[in-house]
Symmetry: C2
Subunit: 259 residues, 2 copies
């Protein structure tokens, strides 16, 4: 059964980004996934049982968009190994330039600005999708494809996307690591990490009404050296102490300059 | 008019913690604020116009609980300067030991685990309030007082509270500073910071179903050195580069050890 108004896509690699994209595409009913390729055999979840699956590059059928969802370092060599040509092949990475894709196909990027863990359910509708392509027709198709799952599709070039990816690393990866250190500290002291949840929620909530620079509070901002010394004493891991010092200095430098 | 079932409190200092406590106490209708003391004259907001205000320590009336809400470094000397004795005097700081309070009064702590900016409205009901006192009767009164505004009142001693405060600095102060750096990076590149909001939201949302160690993603975790190098190149501030390196190393050390 073929619906002419549906967009045909083929997913190349089935890590967490393409898993979540597949889930959203299937739910949208406006996208037909006509193939999932993965270099090794995998057990497809029940929702995707009807989608043709292959581990052979040569068996990949014709599609309107081919979406590479593999680790950043492997994108270039994988795109070189693709046997077909003159098709629209996009990757989904924030940190990889469009130019890493092989020129035998039309290049593009389809980057959902989000953190993907397999076990976490996602509502795609609010996730910004940053698209880039080499010509207007392909850009329009990627915008159309993005719009099937998200209300926020943005045309963003590789340079800007790389900057956005850096910012994403700061607000997600690094923030999550601070949450990890805090969770270890509470665990070691038989305190429940959930005590910190309202504070974490408010930290994010504040961004709606205040700039981060206005929302800053705490011992670093107040130059409260007694508390800072006490905290450094409480941290037993040398690396964590160094991190605490660097973040404190960076806050002090920022607010010394700006206030 | 006096209601015997109401708790009488006096607020000593009127910075953002006591401002927010006053707002919550007034709303609760179970607490009577019978005095606000501040060392300098201030214009009280309309809601507090009926509360007696003074800048003279000697004019502070008798209350069941005196709540010091001033900067950490000043708590000890202020508590020494209080003219009355044998009353329950508490401070509201996460990082200051109960022992810093002068022994002429009964000591206590009433620490709302939250970040307070004057311009941000707060729902106190979910904010953990950590209380500590020297005897059971005072502890019971502080628990009762906390319960008038919060569903989550915890008896926590000074050592544990200081650890909790350190964890709070990590998840709020440091996280907010990372948000600041990200907001600067997006601004410099004419990108809208709000593009990062769904990612920030998901970073926090994930904590409900995953431990922070399971939720970790990104170039540091993947040892994606190409992206890490690119990000270091994009950061033009030396201190921010150092911060990026330290956080990346700390993630790698954590996951090298644990995975």
């Amino acid at each position: 059964m073929y619906f002419s108004n549906m967009i045909n896509v083929c997913l190349l690699g089935f890590g967490s980004v393409n898993f979540h994209l597949a889930t959203a595409f299937v739910a949208s009913k406006k996208v037909m996934i006509n193939c999932i390729y993965n270099r090794s055999e995998i057990e497809l979840p029940e929702t995707f049982k009807n989608i043709p699956f292959t581990t052979k590059l040569k068996e990949i059928p014709e599609s309107q968009v081919y979406i590479i969802g593999i680790t950043d370092d492997a994108i270039q060599s994988f795109s070189n190994a693709i046997p077909f040509k003159n098709k629209l092949v996009v990757h989904t990475s924030g940190g990889v330039s469009i130019s890493k894709l092989n020129s035998k196909n039309r290049k593009g990027v389809f980057y959902p600005l989000q953190t993907f863990s397999n076990s976490s359910e996602l509502d795609f509708s609010k996730i910004p999708i940053c698209v880039e392509a080499e010509n207007e027709e392909d850009t329009a198709l990627l915008i159309k494809l993005g719009s099937t799952i998200s209300e926020n599709v943005q045309k963003i070039n590789s340079n800007k996307r790389e900057t956005l990816h850096l910012a994403a690393v700061l607000v997600n990866n690094f923030t999550n690591h601070l949450f990890y250190i805090a969770s270890e500290i509470t665990k070691e002291n038989n305190l429940d990490f959930s005590l910190l949840q309202p504070l974490i929620k408010e930290t994010v909530q504040k961004l709606k009404t205040l700039n981060p620079i206005e929302a800053q509070t705490g011992p670093a901002l107040r130059n409260d050296n007694q508390t800072i010394e006490k905290h450094l004493h409480l941290l037993r891991d040398e690396q964590q102490r160094e991190l605490y010092k660097q973040l404190t200095e960076s806050i002090q430098k920022t607010h010394g300059k700006k206030l």
